[in-house]
Symmetry: C2
Subunit: 148 residues, 2 copies
């Protein structure tokens, strides 16, 4: 399967920002940043990365795929946990180096590997201190990721 996309460096600044050709600007590691937002609430669930293959699979299958920088491999969200993300809408930003995903978070509704709905379960109080927001765990990670 081809994973090639249009080349953003071949576009004028105006075409990149105002045009209708999708030309994602992958970084030096071949990745774009992906922000997943829960459809309905608009809560930000997680921020991760996609390589070209993950981006194409997400668009073509409607199920969200990322690229794991730590495991250095394609990662279908929910493949271990069952917490599949169904794509409702994808947007890109002015310079096309970020994709914003509106998703339906299936399974127990937990996007975070800690078992919480969102990875953003701590509030920055000051330059040294975090405060738990009180976000409930929807699953027990020790139970779900038994292989780890």
């Amino acid at each position: 399967m081809s994973t090639s996309f249009a080349d953003p460096t071949a576009l004028s600044h105006a075409d990149l920002e105002e045009g209708t050709l999708f030309a994602p600007k992958f970084d030096a590691h071949g990745l774009v940043t992906a922000v997943a937002q829960e459809a309905g609430s608009n809560r930000v669930l997680m921020v991760a990365h996609m390589n070209a293959e993950a981006l194409r699979l997400t668009i073509e299958t409607g199920e969200v795929h990322y690229y794991s920088r730590s495991r250095k491999k394609l990662w279908k969200k929910g493949e271990s946990s069952g917490e599949i993300q169904k794509l409702v809408e994808m947007r890109t930003d002015c310079d096309q180096d970020v994709v914003l995903l509106l998703v339906e978070q299936t399974g127990r509704g937990a996007a975070c590997h800690t078992g919480r709905k969102s990875c953003f379960y701590r509030i920055v109080e000051d330059t040294e201190t975090l405060r738990q927001s009180g976000e409930a765990r929807l699953f027990d990670p020790a139970e779900v990721y038994k292989v780890q």
Copy 2:
């Protein structure tokens, strides 16, 4: 002014993910990803980066500062356009390499340099095609950024 934060590599995995010490994990370029969301609507306005100085200034002044990778300098959001972002709440994610900002977008309410509220004004239709979401321009960038 010191811009040092706690060192995430000195923390255990459990402390990094579940603890209350803020230890932002800056990347090889000294940056964390910052996602700005509009308070109230929860719309994602923009995605940018912060170095330690930008992060500290944002926390200490309550006005959002980023680091411009293209201009290679600290960038107080709105310094040219007047579109200051007032910080309502900051969160970080499980591995502390992203900050999520809930902001009040002041000025004309446009976070994007194109004059639109959000940078995410185009919908990805398929692997080649974008569609304008119809987001209105709240200012004329040619008028606002006269120096450029």
